[in-house]
């Protein structure tokens, strides 16, 4: 976990890393992130040259390819502004994975500096900006899946705390929360049988609590779980947790948030 101080006052400008998954499939999560940040009065810059954080190759063991992609990302996100990413997984790649694969490289310092500027969006809102309440309302039961890459980071606490303050929203706990959903990037296609069984167990545990919606700080887990559920004829409504903040955001709630942090 990156141990860093909160911002003394909200930054005027942030760079937004959309992630390749949101770029390809989940534009709604990326849009919601931008809208929440802008709602808080922050200018959001979306570098058009961005591609991917480099994680697929990093996890696949092809560190050479991964470093090439990371170097491109470093260039695209150069500067001093905080980098906000709607994914614990891509965030962890930036502040943990990349420094690991650059251990013996000359640009290690730049990698570390860029990682230190990178925030998973909920961690940014909660720990970075110090927002403790979100005054919107939403009626229903929510299950929160803590993605594995947010283990030991501020994200799980941030998601649960912020969603927990939404009026009418009830958080439900499911069994074996520490167990991985089975996605794991290339793991899901290289170990299809184990991946499916892991996901099926997770879906069972989640559905047991009969939530209206499953949310997470990572679309990748949800893509895998939703895909598995649908294929087996079950329904698993799921979306990025930031969409819930966006959906419950209104002028009065925003002015409250802005006045109180």
């Amino acid at each position: 976990m990156l141990d860093r101080p909160p911002f003394p006052r909200p930054p005027e400008r942030v760079l937004f890393m959309a992630t390749c998954l949101c770029d390809a499939f989940f534009d709604e999560a990326a849009k919601a992130s931008v809208e929440v940040l802008e709602g808080l009065g922050i200018e959001v810059v979306i570098p058009q040259a961005q591609t991917c954080c480099g994680q697929p190759a990093f996890n696949g063991g092809d560190w050479k390819s991964s470093r090439a992609v990371v170097r491109h990302t470093l260039e695209v996100f150069a500067g001093d502004d905080p980098i906000i990413v709607p994914s614990g997984s891509c965030g962890a790649m930036m502040f943990h994975g990349a420094p690991l694969e650059f251990e013996k490289e000359k640009d290690l310092d730049l990698v570390k500096q860029t990682g230190a500027r990178t925030w998973e969006i909920f961690d940014f809102l909660y720990r970075g900006l110090g927002i403790r309440e979100w005054t919107g309302s939403w009626k229903g039961k929510i299950a929160v899946h803590s993605s594995c890459h947010t283990r030991g980071t501020g994200t799980p606490e941030a998601i649960r705390s912020l969603l927990g303050t939404i009026e009418g929203l009830e958080l439900v706990d499911f069994a074996e929360p520490e167990q991985c959903c089975g996605f794991g990037g290339t793991f899901s296609v290289a170990f299809p049988n184990i991946s499916r069984n892991m996901g099926t167990l997770k879906i069972g545990n989640v559905l047991e609590t009969q939530p209206d919606l499953l949310v997470s700080g990572d679309m990748s887990c949800l893509m895998h779980l939703k895909g598995l559920a649908e294929k087996s004829g079950r329904s698993l409504p799921a979306k990025h947790a930031i969409e819930l903040l966006r959906d419950t955001m209104n002028e009065s709630s925003l002015s409250y948030v802005l006045a109180n942090h």
Binding site: D27, I46, G61, S66, E101, C148, G152, G184, R196
Partner: protein, 467 residues
Amino acid sequence: MSSQIIDQFAADLDGEVRTSVRSGSAAGTDKRHKVLFEDFPEADRMRELAGKVKQHTLDHLDKYLEQAEAALKANGAKVHFAWDAKAACDEVEAILRQSNAKTVTKSKSMVSEEVGLNDSLAERGFDVVETDLGEFILQLDGDHPSHVVKPIIHKNRSEIARTFEKHGLGEYNDEPETITRRARQFMRKKYLQAEATITGANFVSAESGRMCVVTNEGNSRFGLAGSRVHIALVGIEKIVPRDIDLSLLLNLLGRSATGQALTVYTEFIAGPKAEGAVSGPEEFHVVFVNNRRTEVLASNCREILRCIRCGACMNVCPVYRQASGHAYRSVYPGPLGAVLSPLLAGAEGFPELADLPKASSLCGACNEVCPVDIPIPDLLLKLRDRGKQEHNAQAAADTPPMGAWAWVAQSPALWRASLKSANMLNLLPYEKIPFGPLGRWTRDRTLPAWRGGKFRSWAKNRKKAAK
């Protein structure tokens, strides 16, 4: 369809075995969590401290090994060093022959499994009996442990009852009490008959030369009580600097392994029988086993040698729970084994096990529970990189090659064009593609609609509208 060995192993696994492994390991995880955090609300800080103590020891292993040797000798122990597996077996054989020992009782020890001690001694004509109940059952079956703490986690009691019946230990009866009583009757004779006993060691204090052995059945204690000669086989990484370090490590070991505050028996063995003592071995031999540990120490995965063999990582690992310990094709299973086994196999053995580091979703649960805070996922990743660099076919199986992807990902224009053109995927009946990553994905899952470029044009249009 799958060609990764562990995935296939899991797919073929007998349903009964799968259930035993999953429920056994899940129960272990639950107990650990409950007991550890009830007793120590800041357990995570203890884990970090313990990791530092072990890492410090490894960083100065030469010094502590010398200290331990001197302290052990001062206590009256004879100290031997074994460079590899064969040397370890040879040392043990030489000690046994010297003391005319034929029958040997043995406590469960992973390092003895690692060097293949049982087979080696059996070939050389010794009668060696495993005295840990689980390990004894495996010995009867000609099987191997599938967990470092619960060696027969993959067996249920009806299988055990069948084993006992088959080996003449009474008619079929699957009551745990009966099974235990029968094993005890059998072993009692061996304890009285044995001239020598072999144990492992959980820790050796360099300060005092005190060796610590933990068991839940007291079998190591029984072995020591009846034998003239005690041989301890100890991996060189088992050393800790001081006696006081044991307070930290023992508190973590029992809780992490079985959810016990302390194992039922925790023995401290300083040397051979003291003058005037009623029982205990007259000779105490410690065989320090290297077997490529110094090689691991010199590698970029040296942290794995902090391991105190508690098994918490395998208990919590979703892959282990699905696949069982035997899927790892080596002495050490689970996340620990996925790192340690390919390393202990050396350069020539690495290719054979290079797929093990891939058998993880890198979920990090193993790191979270590790009592000595080993960054297992990082080590798995480093070994994946090594596999790729060495062009290992085993490691690469079913992982899509990344070269072309990386090339596109460095060219923003190409990247955006690919994202947009992939929208055509939505028109394809790709769920029917039987091959490749897409095929393997859609066999069990639907793929969401491809929406490449939608976010970017939304962002662009807003900008225009704002102007």
